[in-house]
């Protein structure tokens, strides 16, 4: 018997990222080799057409860990909520 180590994380999506994926939030089990926000986006892209569409231009999708803006290289270890969204247009 062998074991794939996974951790479960809550993901939340906003605006057209949410619309393309078709979900506002979900809990996913992420393989341990997925270390950064950029790697998480890349891994999500492989989960189906909707995800591929949402992350087709990864440079424009922004990420936040536990409600703080982060850079693509930020480590996801220990995160309880990771968000993906387009550039903000508040104000």
């Amino acid at each position: 018997m062998w074991l794939i180590s996974m951790s479960e994380i809550k993901l939340v999506y906003f605006a057209w990222v949410r619309e393309r994926i078709g979900l506002a939030e979900e809990r996913v089990s992420v393989p341990d080799e997925v270390k950064t926000v950029a790697e998480l986006a890349g891994w999500l892209q492989t989960r189906g057409e909707e995800y591929a569409h949402a992350f087709e231009n990864p440079a424009v999708v922004r990420g936040a860990i536990d409600r703080k803006h982060v850079k693509p290289g930020a480590l996801i270890a220990g995160a309880s909520e990771i968000a993906f969204f387009p550039p903000m247009t508040g104000g």
Partner: protein, 156 residues
């Protein structure tokens, strides 16, 4: 005296006059109050509404940290920021920033700073509703807004 800081994220309309009045009454050395109100526009009659989505919790935190940064940079008696979410019709107020200081430049610059950072850091997204009833696009972030925000040399 600690500055009076107010951040509200709400769907209800705000009363700009009452918020300005409140910051104008923070003592006899308030010499300058600047307010900025951002409204929903029809874009020349093209839009029936804008729908504002936000990230609850993070919106308050981000705006709160922009306000905290503003009071660390300028001598302020008070800062009020209200940002609405939900469906806005043309002429509806979307965002209000009010700053009170002894001096004009502090009040002006702080209000401008808060708006610049709010535009690029607060997790809000606008979707267009066209007058023909169809859903339009998500409003694109302006590169210009990023440029304006970098004027203040704040780390991202």
């Amino acid at each position: 005296m600690l500055p009076l800081l107010t951040v509200r994220i709400q769907s209800e309309p705000f009363d700009a006059a009452a918020e300005i009045e409140a910051l104008s009454r923070l003592g006899e050395d308030v010499g300058a109050v600047t307010s900025f109100t951002g409204f929903c526009r029809s874009e020349g009659g093209r839009l029936a509404a804008l729908e504002l989505e936000h990230y609850p919790g993070m919106a308050e935190e981000e705006i709160g940290s922009v306000v905290a940064e503003a009071v660390s940079r300028w001598p302020l008696y008070g800062v009020t920021v209200i940002h609405r979410h939900g469906v806005m019709r043309p002429s509806d107020g979307i965002v209000l920033v009010v700053t009170a200081s002894s001096h004009r430049t502090a009040s002006f610059e702080a209000a401008n700073f808060v708006m610049d950072y709010l535009k690029t850091r607060a997790p809000f997204w606008k979707k267009e509703h066209r007058v023909d009833g169809s859903l339009g696009d998500w409003v694109d972030a302006k590169i210009e807004d990023d440029r304006l925000a970098t004027r203040w040399k704040l780390d991202a």
